[in-house]
């Protein structure tokens, strides 16, 4: 349906949360207290991110997860690939590419279906999107705006 799975969504929320707390550890409990997320599922997702080397896990009391890389070097492609598995794109796997690994007729490739080319475009976009670019604004600023919104929404029965 051309949409990210909930798992990927939770992964993004968790990672964005961790960007605000680089250096600290973030537990699943902490995440689920802050956002309305199913605890067990988030745990499953974080585990996958750990396997993919995007976060570092620390077991035991006071344990949790922290970013394994800088937010600038983690791409959306890595994240989604870690959770949903890399899309079967790899490269042009049509008959033309079975020769020597490369696609010999690449310049005018007549075999590559439009779908493959779309997926390639999409994946390039994902690889070019860093985790950092998904973090809306500095933490303090965000909290301030959220607070302001809460007040205006609670106070005015209009709208």
């Amino acid at each position: 349906m051309l949409q990210l799975t909930k798992r990927s969504e939770y992964a993004l929320i968790a990672l964005v949360h961790m960007v605000d707390r680089e250096g600290e550890v973030t537990s699943v409990r902490e995440l689920c207290e802050r956002y309305p997320l199913p605890k067990r599922l988030v745990a499953e997702v974080l585990k996958d991110l750990s396997h993919a080397g995007l976060v570092i896990s620390q077991r035991g009391a006071q344990g949790g997860y922290s970013l394994a890389q800088a937010a600038e070097s983690i791409t959306l492609g890595q994240i989604v690939g870690a959770i949903e598995g890399a899309p079967a794109l790899t490269n042009c796997d049509s008959i033309a590419s079975t020769r020597d690994g490369g696609c010999e007729v690449h310049p005018v490739c007549p075999i590559r279906s439009p779908v493959e080319r779309v997926r390639e475009h999409l994946w390039r976009l994902f690889e070019a999107t860093t985790l950092r670019s998904l973090v809306p604004a500095p933490h303090a600023n965000r909290e301030a705006v959220i607070q302001r919104l809460r007040e205006s929404l609670a106070g005015s029965p209009s709208a």
Copy 2:
């Protein structure tokens, strides 16, 4: 799973096929003789494209479908939207946007989840991708390369 549905894939194949035959009508039978596609499903897809105004249908014998617009003005977003339905993106539909239709804190929008922003990026890419850009090469050229590939793969002639 972050991939186009088969329906969208069939739509793209059909539309690309029609680009090569602008002005002519293309029937479902013609499409399924040329590509190994399930006839009934392709018919369903073409019907949806017709409803969306992307192709024009002509009923009865010698009938079929033809492009309703130039290949340059049909976007991938329109196609996928017609088949799978527009992703529930519309705009920032968070609490911040319920004020006057527009998102008042857009510049530093703290509510918009990372997922929404990803979908927005993705959709922009789709809106910017024209049907024309998905057609690999001029028709004659393509046929020639296909023929050459068939020969080299078969080893023996007369495939």
